[in-house]
Protein backbone atom coordinates (compact mmCIF):
# COMPACT_ATOMS: atom_id res chain seq x y z
CA UNK A 1 0.00 0.00 0.00
CA UNK A 2 1.23 3.44 -0.76
CA UNK A 3 1.23 6.64 1.17
CA UNK A 4 -1.79 8.14 -0.57
CA UNK A 5 -4.07 5.19 -0.11
CA UNK A 6 -3.04 4.83 3.49
CA UNK A 7 -3.84 8.41 4.26
CA UNK A 8 -7.17 8.40 2.49
CA UNK A 9 -8.22 5.45 4.62
CA UNK A 10 -6.93 7.22 7.68
CA UNK A 11 -8.96 10.31 6.83
CA UNK A 12 -12.06 8.20 6.48
CA UNK A 13 -11.54 6.52 9.78
CA UNK A 14 -10.89 9.75 11.61
CA UNK A 15 -13.56 11.71 9.77
CA UNK A 16 -11.20 14.60 9.26
CA UNK A 17 -9.96 16.48 6.27
CA UNK A 18 -6.61 16.00 4.67
CA UNK A 19 -5.13 19.14 6.13
CA UNK A 20 -5.57 18.29 9.76
CA UNK A 21 -4.43 14.73 9.28
CA UNK A 22 -1.32 15.97 7.53
CA UNK A 23 -0.68 18.41 10.33
CA UNK A 24 -0.84 15.60 12.88
CA UNK A 25 1.35 13.39 10.77
CA UNK A 26 4.06 15.99 10.29
CA UNK A 27 3.95 16.64 14.02
CA UNK A 28 4.44 12.95 14.67
CA UNK A 29 7.33 12.78 12.24
CA UNK A 30 8.94 15.76 13.85
CA UNK A 31 8.68 14.18 17.28
CA UNK A 32 10.22 10.95 16.10
CA UNK A 33 13.04 12.85 14.45
CA UNK A 34 13.73 14.97 17.46
CA UNK A 35 13.76 12.00 19.73
CA UNK A 36 16.05 10.06 17.44
CA UNK A 37 18.54 12.86 17.21
CA UNK A 38 18.88 12.84 20.97
CA UNK A 39 19.15 9.04 20.89
CA UNK A 40 15.82 8.55 22.59
CA UNK A 41 13.24 6.08 21.47
CA UNK A 42 9.51 6.26 20.98
CA UNK A 43 7.49 3.31 22.15
CA UNK A 44 3.98 2.70 20.99
CA UNK A 45 1.96 0.25 22.99
CA UNK A 46 0.83 -2.67 20.89
CA UNK A 47 2.80 -1.58 17.88
CA UNK A 48 6.48 -1.37 18.56
CA UNK A 49 9.44 0.84 19.32
CA UNK A 50 11.17 3.32 17.08
CA UNK A 51 14.70 3.41 18.25
CA UNK A 52 17.83 5.05 16.86
CA UNK A 53 20.81 2.72 16.82
CA UNK A 54 24.46 3.35 16.39
CA UNK A 55 26.23 1.24 13.86
CA UNK A 56 29.98 0.87 13.97
CA UNK A 57 32.09 1.51 10.98
CA UNK A 58 32.93 -1.56 9.00
CA UNK A 59 34.71 -2.75 5.94
CA UNK A 60 32.66 -4.07 3.11
CA UNK A 61 33.59 -5.32 -0.32
CA UNK A 62 31.83 -4.16 -3.40
CA UNK A 63 30.91 -7.43 -5.07
CA UNK A 64 30.97 -5.88 -8.52
CA UNK A 65 34.38 -4.29 -8.40
CA UNK A 66 36.01 -6.17 -5.55
CA UNK A 67 37.01 -2.87 -3.98
CA UNK A 68 37.05 -2.68 -0.24
CA UNK A 69 35.21 0.19 1.31
CA UNK A 70 35.36 1.62 4.77
CA UNK A 71 31.76 2.30 5.65
CA UNK A 72 31.59 5.07 8.21
CA UNK A 73 29.70 4.76 11.47
CA UNK A 74 26.13 5.96 11.44
CA UNK A 75 22.95 6.26 13.38
CA UNK A 76 19.94 4.60 11.91
CA UNK A 77 16.33 4.58 12.97
CA UNK A 78 15.21 1.07 13.67
CA UNK A 79 11.77 -0.24 14.32
CA UNK A 80 11.27 -3.22 16.54
CA UNK A 81 7.78 -4.61 16.40
CA UNK A 82 6.11 -5.33 19.68
CA UNK A 83 5.18 -8.84 20.72
CA UNK A 84 1.57 -8.50 19.65
CA UNK A 85 2.34 -7.22 16.19
CA UNK A 86 5.19 -9.64 15.74
CA UNK A 87 3.08 -12.64 16.55
CA UNK A 88 0.22 -11.48 14.38
CA UNK A 89 2.56 -11.12 11.43
CA UNK A 90 4.24 -14.42 12.16
CA UNK A 91 0.97 -16.22 11.87
CA UNK A 92 0.29 -14.95 8.39
CA UNK A 93 -0.63 -17.74 6.02
CA UNK A 94 2.23 -18.71 3.76
CA UNK A 95 1.81 -16.99 0.47
Amino acid sequence: MEHKQFFSILQERLGKDKKSVDAFYSGLLQIIKERSVSMDSVSIQGFGVFEPRKKLERISVNPATGKRMLIPPRIILTFKPGAVLKNRIKENPVR
Binding site: F6, F24, I44, L77
Partner: protein, 420 residues
Protein backbone atom coordinates in the same frame (compact mmCIF):
# COMPACT_ATOMS: atom_id res chain seq x y z
CA UNK B 1 19.33 10.28 26.43
CA UNK B 2 18.32 6.72 25.90
CA UNK B 3 14.94 7.23 27.37
CA UNK B 4 11.73 5.88 26.06
CA UNK B 5 8.51 7.75 25.80
CA UNK B 6 5.23 6.00 25.73
CA UNK B 7 2.10 6.75 23.86
CA UNK B 8 0.75 9.13 26.49
CA UNK B 9 3.81 11.33 26.38
CA UNK B 10 3.77 11.19 22.65
CA UNK B 11 0.18 12.37 22.75
CA UNK B 12 1.12 15.29 24.94
CA UNK B 13 3.88 16.40 22.68
CA UNK B 14 1.81 15.98 19.58
CA UNK B 15 -1.07 17.99 20.93
CA UNK B 16 1.32 20.79 21.81
CA UNK B 17 2.93 20.66 18.40
CA UNK B 18 -0.22 20.72 16.35
CA UNK B 19 -2.25 23.04 18.57
CA UNK B 20 -5.03 20.60 19.16
CA UNK B 21 -6.59 18.91 22.09
CA UNK B 22 -5.09 15.86 23.63
CA UNK B 23 -8.12 13.89 22.69
CA UNK B 24 -7.70 14.63 19.04
CA UNK B 25 -4.03 13.82 19.13
CA UNK B 26 -4.68 10.57 20.89
CA UNK B 27 -7.38 9.65 18.46
CA UNK B 28 -5.07 10.35 15.58
CA UNK B 29 -2.23 8.29 17.00
CA UNK B 30 -4.44 5.39 17.86
CA UNK B 31 -6.01 5.29 14.44
CA UNK B 32 -2.70 5.81 12.73
CA UNK B 33 -0.98 2.92 14.39
CA UNK B 34 -3.92 0.57 14.39
CA UNK B 35 -4.38 1.16 10.67
CA UNK B 36 -0.68 0.65 10.22
CA UNK B 37 -0.64 -2.64 12.04
CA UNK B 38 -3.86 -3.81 10.40
CA UNK B 39 -2.36 -3.22 7.00
CA UNK B 40 0.86 -4.92 7.94
CA UNK B 41 -0.86 -7.92 9.42
CA UNK B 42 -2.49 -8.51 6.07
CA UNK B 43 0.99 -9.12 4.78
CA UNK B 44 1.05 -5.97 2.73
CA UNK B 45 4.06 -3.79 2.47
CA UNK B 46 3.45 -0.20 3.35
CA UNK B 47 5.36 2.86 2.31
CA UNK B 48 4.80 6.06 4.17
CA UNK B 49 6.49 9.17 2.91
CA UNK B 50 8.72 10.76 5.48
CA UNK B 51 8.76 7.74 7.76
CA UNK B 52 9.83 4.73 5.78
CA UNK B 53 8.79 1.44 4.36
CA UNK B 54 7.39 -1.48 6.31
CA UNK B 55 7.56 -4.89 4.74
CA UNK B 56 6.92 -8.37 5.93
CA UNK B 57 9.67 -10.70 4.89
CA UNK B 58 9.57 -14.46 4.78
CA UNK B 59 12.22 -16.09 6.95
CA UNK B 60 13.06 -19.62 5.91
CA UNK B 61 13.02 -22.45 8.37
CA UNK B 62 16.44 -23.04 9.83
CA UNK B 63 18.11 -25.33 12.28
CA UNK B 64 19.47 -24.05 15.50
CA UNK B 65 20.75 -25.47 18.73
CA UNK B 66 18.84 -25.60 21.95
CA UNK B 67 20.99 -23.68 24.34
CA UNK B 68 20.16 -25.84 27.31
CA UNK B 69 20.43 -29.33 25.93
CA UNK B 70 22.70 -28.78 22.94
CA UNK B 71 20.24 -30.59 20.78
CA UNK B 72 19.63 -29.38 17.28
CA UNK B 73 16.17 -28.03 16.69
CA UNK B 74 14.24 -26.54 13.86
CA UNK B 75 12.89 -23.03 13.79
CA UNK B 76 9.95 -23.05 11.40
CA UNK B 77 9.74 -20.49 8.66
CA UNK B 78 7.78 -17.35 9.48
CA UNK B 79 7.20 -13.77 8.48
CA UNK B 80 8.98 -10.94 10.13
CA UNK B 81 8.53 -7.23 9.85
CA UNK B 82 11.28 -5.14 8.39
CA UNK B 83 11.45 -1.40 8.50
CA UNK B 84 13.57 0.73 6.23
CA UNK B 85 13.62 4.39 7.09
CA UNK B 86 12.83 6.92 4.44
CA UNK B 87 15.68 8.91 2.94
CA UNK B 88 14.73 12.15 4.64
CA UNK B 89 14.27 10.36 7.94
CA UNK B 90 17.56 8.55 7.58
CA UNK B 91 19.43 11.74 6.90
CA UNK B 92 17.80 13.58 9.78
CA UNK B 93 18.68 10.82 12.22
CA UNK B 94 22.19 10.46 10.91
CA UNK B 95 22.84 14.21 10.89
CA UNK B 96 25.61 14.08 13.50
CA UNK B 97 27.58 11.64 11.39
CA UNK B 98 26.75 13.13 8.04
CA UNK B 99 30.30 14.34 7.61
CA UNK B 100 31.49 10.81 7.05
CA UNK B 101 31.55 9.30 3.61
CA UNK B 102 32.45 5.80 2.55
CA UNK B 103 36.08 5.53 1.66
CA UNK B 104 37.68 3.18 -0.82
CA UNK B 105 40.56 1.32 0.74
CA UNK B 106 43.68 0.73 -1.29
CA UNK B 107 44.38 -2.94 -1.87
CA UNK B 108 47.61 -3.14 0.05
CA UNK B 109 46.18 -1.91 3.30
CA UNK B 110 45.92 -4.71 5.78
CA UNK B 111 43.64 -3.97 8.65
CA UNK B 112 43.64 -5.75 11.92
CA UNK B 113 40.22 -7.22 11.67
CA UNK B 114 39.33 -10.33 13.67
CA UNK B 115 39.69 -13.30 11.41
CA UNK B 116 37.75 -16.49 11.37
CA UNK B 117 39.71 -19.60 12.12
CA UNK B 118 43.42 -19.41 12.39
CA UNK B 119 44.13 -22.04 14.96
CA UNK B 120 46.88 -23.54 12.86
CA UNK B 121 48.85 -20.34 12.55
CA UNK B 122 52.14 -21.33 14.00
CA UNK B 123 54.31 -18.32 13.53
CA UNK B 124 55.02 -16.28 16.61
CA UNK B 125 54.57 -13.13 14.61
CA UNK B 126 51.02 -12.81 15.88
CA UNK B 127 52.35 -10.68 18.62
CA UNK B 128 53.42 -7.98 16.32
CA UNK B 129 50.83 -5.61 14.96
CA UNK B 130 50.34 -6.37 11.33
CA UNK B 131 50.58 -2.84 10.19
CA UNK B 132 50.88 -1.96 6.56
CA UNK B 133 53.39 0.41 5.10
CA UNK B 134 52.96 3.77 6.71
CA UNK B 135 52.61 5.68 3.47
CA UNK B 136 49.11 4.39 3.03
CA UNK B 137 47.83 5.56 6.30
CA UNK B 138 46.37 8.93 5.40
CA UNK B 139 44.02 7.21 3.02
CA UNK B 140 42.38 5.34 5.82
CA UNK B 141 40.52 8.37 6.99
CA UNK B 142 38.07 9.15 8.51
CA UNK B 143 38.42 7.06 11.59
CA UNK B 144 42.06 6.17 12.05
CA UNK B 145 43.61 9.54 12.30
CA UNK B 146 47.30 9.66 12.81
CA UNK B 147 47.74 11.45 16.05
CA UNK B 148 45.60 10.23 18.86
CA UNK B 149 45.29 13.67 20.29
CA UNK B 150 42.18 14.24 22.26
CA UNK B 151 42.87 17.34 24.23
CA UNK B 152 39.73 18.89 25.62
CA UNK B 153 40.47 22.29 24.14
CA UNK B 154 39.92 20.97 20.68
CA UNK B 155 36.82 19.16 21.67
CA UNK B 156 35.07 22.40 22.43
CA UNK B 157 35.49 23.65 18.90
CA UNK B 158 32.73 21.68 17.36
CA UNK B 159 30.61 21.22 20.42
CA UNK B 160 27.91 23.24 18.77
CA UNK B 161 27.60 20.98 15.84
CA UNK B 162 27.13 17.90 17.85
CA UNK B 163 25.09 19.63 20.39
CA UNK B 164 22.46 17.16 21.26
CA UNK B 165 24.65 14.14 21.52
CA UNK B 166 26.40 13.32 24.68
CA UNK B 167 26.54 9.60 24.56
CA UNK B 168 29.86 7.90 24.98
CA UNK B 169 30.13 6.53 21.49
CA UNK B 170 29.26 9.81 20.01
CA UNK B 171 31.82 11.43 22.22
CA UNK B 172 34.34 9.04 20.85
CA UNK B 173 33.38 9.72 17.30
CA UNK B 174 33.49 13.37 17.96
CA UNK B 175 37.11 13.14 18.82
CA UNK B 176 37.84 11.14 15.74
CA UNK B 177 36.14 13.79 13.73
CA UNK B 178 38.34 16.33 15.32
CA UNK B 179 41.34 14.30 14.55
CA UNK B 180 40.25 14.31 11.00
CA UNK B 181 39.84 18.03 10.98
CA UNK B 182 43.12 18.39 12.64
CA UNK B 183 44.86 16.28 10.10
CA UNK B 184 43.41 18.45 7.42
CA UNK B 185 44.19 21.77 8.92
CA UNK B 186 47.53 20.94 10.41
CA UNK B 187 47.06 23.86 12.72
CA UNK B 188 48.18 22.21 15.84
CA UNK B 189 51.19 20.03 15.77
CA UNK B 190 50.96 16.62 17.23
CA UNK B 191 52.56 17.54 20.48
CA UNK B 192 51.86 14.97 23.08
CA UNK B 193 50.59 11.53 22.55
CA UNK B 194 47.69 11.75 24.88
CA UNK B 195 45.98 8.46 25.45
CA UNK B 196 43.12 7.74 23.17
CA UNK B 197 39.56 8.06 24.30
CA UNK B 198 38.20 4.96 25.93
CA UNK B 199 36.45 2.82 23.41
CA UNK B 200 38.04 3.00 20.06
CA UNK B 201 36.69 1.33 17.02
CA UNK B 202 38.50 -1.84 16.11
CA UNK B 203 39.77 -0.67 12.83
CA UNK B 204 41.33 2.42 14.16
CA UNK B 205 43.50 0.58 16.61
CA UNK B 206 46.40 -0.39 14.44
CA UNK B 207 46.91 3.17 13.40
CA UNK B 208 48.08 4.26 16.81
CA UNK B 209 50.41 1.40 17.45
CA UNK B 210 53.99 2.10 16.68
CA UNK B 211 54.50 1.52 13.06
CA UNK B 212 56.30 -1.66 12.29
CA UNK B 213 59.13 -1.59 9.88
CA UNK B 214 57.72 -1.86 6.40
CA UNK B 215 58.39 -5.35 5.07
CA UNK B 216 61.77 -6.23 6.42
CA UNK B 217 64.02 -6.45 3.42
CA UNK B 218 65.17 -9.94 2.66
CA UNK B 219 68.82 -9.28 3.24
CA UNK B 220 68.10 -8.70 6.85
CA UNK B 221 66.82 -12.11 7.70
CA UNK B 222 70.14 -13.63 8.70
CA UNK B 223 70.93 -10.61 10.83
CA UNK B 224 67.66 -9.67 12.39
CA UNK B 225 65.57 -12.60 13.43
CA UNK B 226 62.01 -11.53 14.16
CA UNK B 227 62.17 -9.20 17.06
CA UNK B 228 59.63 -6.83 18.37
CA UNK B 229 60.12 -3.46 16.82
CA UNK B 230 60.93 -0.40 18.79
CA UNK B 231 59.29 2.95 18.38
CA UNK B 232 62.08 4.91 16.80
CA UNK B 233 62.67 2.28 14.23
CA UNK B 234 63.08 4.75 11.45
CA UNK B 235 66.49 5.90 12.56
CA UNK B 236 67.80 2.45 13.33
CA UNK B 237 66.56 1.14 10.09
CA UNK B 238 69.02 3.01 7.97
CA UNK B 239 71.92 1.70 10.04
CA UNK B 240 70.61 -1.78 9.82
CA UNK B 241 70.30 -1.49 6.11
CA UNK B 242 73.93 -0.54 5.75
CA UNK B 243 75.26 -3.40 7.81
CA UNK B 244 72.89 -5.78 6.12
CA UNK B 245 74.08 -4.58 2.78
CA UNK B 246 77.68 -5.40 3.50
CA UNK B 247 76.81 -8.74 4.98
CA UNK B 248 74.71 -9.52 2.00
CA UNK B 249 77.62 -8.81 -0.29
CA UNK B 250 79.81 -11.10 1.73
CA UNK B 251 77.25 -13.81 1.58
CA UNK B 252 76.92 -13.46 -2.13
CA UNK B 253 80.55 -14.30 -2.57
CA UNK B 254 80.22 -17.68 -0.91
CA UNK B 255 77.02 -19.24 -2.22
CA UNK B 256 77.41 -22.74 -0.73
CA UNK B 257 78.17 -21.55 2.74
CA UNK B 258 75.40 -19.01 2.64
CA UNK B 259 72.79 -21.53 1.56
CA UNK B 260 73.86 -23.81 4.36
CA UNK B 261 73.62 -20.96 6.80
CA UNK B 262 70.22 -19.99 5.52
CA UNK B 263 68.91 -23.53 5.83
CA UNK B 264 70.23 -23.76 9.36
CA UNK B 265 68.64 -20.49 10.33
CA UNK B 266 65.32 -21.54 8.86
CA UNK B 267 65.44 -24.85 10.69
CA UNK B 268 66.26 -23.13 13.92
CA UNK B 269 63.41 -20.71 13.45
CA UNK B 270 60.99 -23.51 12.72
CA UNK B 271 61.95 -25.42 15.83
CA UNK B 272 61.70 -22.30 17.91
CA UNK B 273 58.28 -21.46 16.63
CA UNK B 274 57.07 -25.01 17.09
CA UNK B 275 58.35 -25.11 20.62
CA UNK B 276 56.86 -21.75 21.32
CA UNK B 277 53.52 -22.81 19.95
CA UNK B 278 53.54 -25.95 22.04
CA UNK B 279 54.46 -24.07 25.11
CA UNK B 280 51.69 -21.64 24.54
CA UNK B 281 49.24 -24.50 24.49
CA UNK B 282 50.67 -25.89 27.65
CA UNK B 283 51.98 -29.04 26.05
CA UNK B 284 55.24 -30.43 27.23
CA UNK B 285 57.72 -32.18 24.98
CA UNK B 286 56.86 -35.36 26.77
CA UNK B 287 53.29 -35.15 25.54
CA UNK B 288 54.51 -34.69 22.03
CA UNK B 289 56.70 -37.74 22.38
CA UNK B 290 53.88 -39.89 23.62
CA UNK B 291 51.68 -38.53 20.87
CA UNK B 292 54.06 -39.51 18.12
CA UNK B 293 55.24 -42.77 19.69
CA UNK B 294 52.14 -44.11 21.32
CA UNK B 295 53.58 -47.58 21.78
CA UNK B 296 55.81 -46.33 24.55
CA UNK B 297 54.20 -47.05 27.86
CA UNK B 298 53.19 -43.65 29.10
CA UNK B 299 53.33 -43.72 32.81
CA UNK B 300 52.05 -40.54 34.37
CA UNK B 301 49.88 -38.47 32.15
CA UNK B 302 46.93 -40.45 31.07
CA UNK B 303 46.54 -43.07 33.71
CA UNK B 304 43.03 -42.11 34.55
CA UNK B 305 41.04 -44.88 36.08
CA UNK B 306 39.02 -46.69 33.52
CA UNK B 307 35.44 -47.43 34.14
CA UNK B 308 33.46 -50.24 32.65
CA UNK B 309 31.29 -49.29 29.74
CA UNK B 310 27.58 -49.49 30.26
CA UNK B 311 25.66 -51.72 27.90
CA UNK B 312 23.22 -49.05 26.91
CA UNK B 313 25.79 -46.48 25.91
CA UNK B 314 23.94 -44.71 23.17
CA UNK B 315 25.48 -44.30 19.77
CA UNK B 316 28.53 -46.32 20.69
CA UNK B 317 28.25 -48.90 17.99
CA UNK B 318 31.85 -49.30 17.05
CA UNK B 319 33.17 -50.13 20.48
CA UNK B 320 30.51 -52.53 21.28
CA UNK B 321 32.01 -55.09 23.62
CA UNK B 322 31.87 -53.82 27.15
CA UNK B 323 34.76 -55.37 28.94
CA UNK B 324 35.42 -55.75 32.56
CA UNK B 325 38.55 -53.83 33.21
CA UNK B 326 41.41 -55.68 34.67
CA UNK B 327 44.66 -54.09 35.75
CA UNK B 328 46.31 -55.53 32.69
CA UNK B 329 44.02 -53.44 30.49
CA UNK B 330 45.27 -50.20 31.88
CA UNK B 331 48.33 -50.17 29.72
CA UNK B 332 46.36 -50.76 26.57
CA UNK B 333 43.65 -48.30 27.43
CA UNK B 334 45.82 -45.23 27.05
CA UNK B 335 46.85 -46.25 23.57
CA UNK B 336 43.47 -47.29 22.29
CA UNK B 337 42.99 -46.04 18.76
CA UNK B 338 40.34 -43.42 18.14
CA UNK B 339 36.95 -44.90 17.39
CA UNK B 340 36.24 -42.48 14.61
CA UNK B 341 37.38 -39.33 12.94
CA UNK B 342 34.94 -36.53 12.43
CA UNK B 343 35.43 -33.73 9.99
CA UNK B 344 34.45 -30.41 11.40
CA UNK B 345 31.92 -28.59 9.27
CA UNK B 346 30.04 -25.39 9.75
CA UNK B 347 28.04 -25.65 12.92
CA UNK B 348 29.86 -28.70 14.20
CA UNK B 349 30.42 -28.62 17.89
CA UNK B 350 32.48 -30.70 20.22
CA UNK B 351 29.47 -30.94 22.49
CA UNK B 352 27.36 -32.39 19.72
CA UNK B 353 30.01 -34.97 18.93
CA UNK B 354 30.24 -35.87 22.57
CA UNK B 355 26.49 -36.28 22.71
CA UNK B 356 26.63 -38.53 19.69
CA UNK B 357 29.49 -40.74 20.78
CA UNK B 358 29.31 -40.76 24.55
CA UNK B 359 25.72 -39.96 25.28
CA UNK B 360 26.41 -36.72 27.12
CA UNK B 361 27.59 -33.36 25.91
CA UNK B 362 29.85 -32.71 28.87
CA UNK B 363 32.35 -35.24 27.61
CA UNK B 364 33.47 -32.93 24.84
CA UNK B 365 36.55 -32.18 26.89
CA UNK B 366 37.97 -35.58 26.11
CA UNK B 367 37.59 -35.11 22.40
CA UNK B 368 39.51 -31.92 22.86
CA UNK B 369 42.02 -33.67 25.08
CA UNK B 370 42.63 -36.24 22.37
CA UNK B 371 43.27 -33.56 19.77
CA UNK B 372 44.84 -30.86 21.84
CA UNK B 373 48.21 -31.28 20.24
CA UNK B 374 46.68 -30.05 17.04
CA UNK B 375 44.14 -27.50 18.15
CA UNK B 376 45.08 -24.52 20.22
CA UNK B 377 41.70 -23.35 21.33
CA UNK B 378 38.69 -25.64 21.71
CA UNK B 379 36.40 -22.75 20.87
CA UNK B 380 37.98 -22.16 17.51
CA UNK B 381 38.46 -25.27 15.47
CA UNK B 382 38.89 -24.63 11.78
CA UNK B 383 36.31 -25.97 9.38
CA UNK B 384 37.55 -29.08 7.64
CA UNK B 385 39.62 -30.20 10.60
CA UNK B 386 39.67 -33.95 11.16
CA UNK B 387 38.97 -34.66 14.79
CA UNK B 388 39.87 -37.98 16.30
CA UNK B 389 37.16 -39.20 18.61
CA UNK B 390 38.81 -41.18 21.39
CA UNK B 391 37.64 -44.49 22.68
CA UNK B 392 35.34 -44.01 25.62
CA UNK B 393 37.45 -46.31 27.76
CA UNK B 394 40.57 -44.29 27.28
CA UNK B 395 39.29 -41.50 29.48
CA UNK B 396 36.86 -43.47 31.52
CA UNK B 397 33.85 -41.94 29.89
CA UNK B 398 30.57 -43.15 31.22
CA UNK B 399 27.43 -41.14 30.76
CA UNK B 400 25.70 -42.97 33.58
CA UNK B 401 28.40 -42.41 36.10
CA UNK B 402 28.14 -39.29 38.23
CA UNK B 403 31.83 -39.25 39.06
CA UNK B 404 32.88 -39.50 35.46
CA UNK B 405 30.53 -36.70 34.53
CA UNK B 406 31.72 -34.58 37.37
CA UNK B 407 35.30 -35.09 36.31
CA UNK B 408 34.54 -34.01 32.77
CA UNK B 409 32.76 -30.93 34.06
CA UNK B 410 35.70 -30.01 36.25
CA UNK B 411 38.01 -30.36 33.32
CA UNK B 412 35.70 -28.24 31.20
CA UNK B 413 35.75 -25.56 33.85
CA UNK B 414 39.52 -25.53 33.87
CA UNK B 415 39.63 -25.29 30.10
CA UNK B 416 37.11 -22.52 30.17
CA UNK B 417 39.22 -20.51 32.54
CA UNK B 418 42.22 -21.08 30.37
CA UNK B 419 40.64 -19.89 27.18
CA UNK B 420 38.42 -17.06 28.33
Amino acid sequence: MNTKISLSELTDQLSRKSDSTKKEAEQFLKEFFSLLSDTLVQGESLKINGLGQFRSIWVDARTSVNVHTGEPMEIPGHYKLSFTPDKSMREAVNAPFSAFVPEVLPDDVVLDMPEESDASDDEPEDEMPSQPAPENKPVEAPAPAEQPAADPSVTKLSEKELDALSDLVIEKLKTTEQQQQKAEEKTKSATAETPVVTARVDVSEPAETPVEEPEAPKEETPVATPTLTVENEDEDESDDDDSAETLWEKICRRPVLSTLCAVLVVLLLLTCSAAWQLQRQGISMRDVWTYYFPSEPSAGDESQPTLPLPENNSGESLVSTPETTSPADDVDVSTLPPVATERMGKGSRLTLLALKYYGHKDFWVYIYEENKTRISNPNRIPVGFDLAVPDARKYGIDANDEASLQKAQDLALRLKEKYE
